[in-house]
Amino acid sequence: MLETPLFGITLTLVTYLLAQKLYRRVGKVWANPVLVSIVSIILLLQLFDLEYRDYARGGDVLVFLLGPSVVALAIPLYQRREEIWKRKKPIMVGVFAGSLASIISACGLAWAFGGSREVILSLAPKSVTTPIAISIVEKIGGIAPLTAALVVLTGCIGAVCGPEFCKRIGITSPVATGLAVGTSAHGIGTARMLEVDRLSGAVAGLAIGLNGLMTTFLLPLLIAIAGNW
């Protein structure tokens, strides 16, 4: 039964459908279906003493679909290209500031709370989409699996709280909201923004790529500066 992808796929879909039902019933931010599904599946696997590998055989099939999904983000971007092109300056400056803020705040806070060098470096690219984050962290000498886990955690926090948080601090424009959540919470945040508003989702998708590029070039520069300090 566990030798085929059937188990992982079925478990994920059933859990996700139930989680969506729960979310619709309670309507609270913490009941985010992605978060509830992740926690429930981890608990279930541990309860029945099942190996992650047995789950991943099916899980990986679903994760594979992220690839073409990222490519498909070009479609809403193209559809809204005029609105987005008109705002190229706020978009570029916003993502640049966010990328810088991400590296400085993540590393600074981890350092202030006594994190080791490896952990501080592993946190640096946490707002960047997983494949880019991994290649960055391998270059600067962090722990790649830890980064992968932190990227997902960051994405969940941003997806769960992002739209509400933005509204509360007075960010109301769909472009600014999409940019904020996409820059901070990459693909998971983008998936959430696509549910809220298509323009926000398209901008969030653009922010994934831009933030990945900017962090790739900014981080080695900042490490060199911090090293000379």
Binding site: V34, G67, P68, A72, I75, Q79, R87, P90, A101, A148
Partner: protein, 120 residues
């Protein structure tokens, strides 16, 4: 539907190939998104081919992240060892980035509109 999915995978494949051949720091799927945008702009491909497949994938994108999130369980010990700096930095920094990015973008956006330059 099948045509859309096929072309999405072809664009992903070409992005993947270019990323590997030139050893670029950008992953194949992000490059593929760029290539597709280029293809649409130059009318090399028609947006109609993609709409159905793109809509199906993008409407369910959140679901595809669930197994990636479950993968965190494998690194539980790694996180537990330095949970305090990790939790504080991850949580606070996520909000800091949203606030900085969103506030700056919104400020620039509204000042551009105040200039009265572009409204079409």
């Amino acid at each position: 539907m099948v045509r859309g999915l096929t072309f999405l995978l072809l664009f992903q494949f070409s992005g993947e190939a270019v990323s590997r051949i030139f050893d670029l720091p950008i992953p194949g799927n992000v490059l593929g998104m760029g290539f597709l945008l280029l293809g649409l702009t130059t009318k090399l491909v028609d947006i109609k081919w993609f709409e159905e497949a793109a809509d199906l994938l993008l409407s369910n994108m959140a679901l595809f992240f669930v197994p990636a999130g479950v993968g965190v369980m494998v690194y539980g010990e790694l996180i537990a060892a330095e949970w305090l700096p990790i939790t504080v930095a991850t949580v606070l920094s996520t909000f800091v980035v949203m606030a900085v990015t969103g506030k700056i973008a919104q400020k620039l956006e509204s000042s551009a509109e105040d200039d009265g330059g572009e409204d079409a």
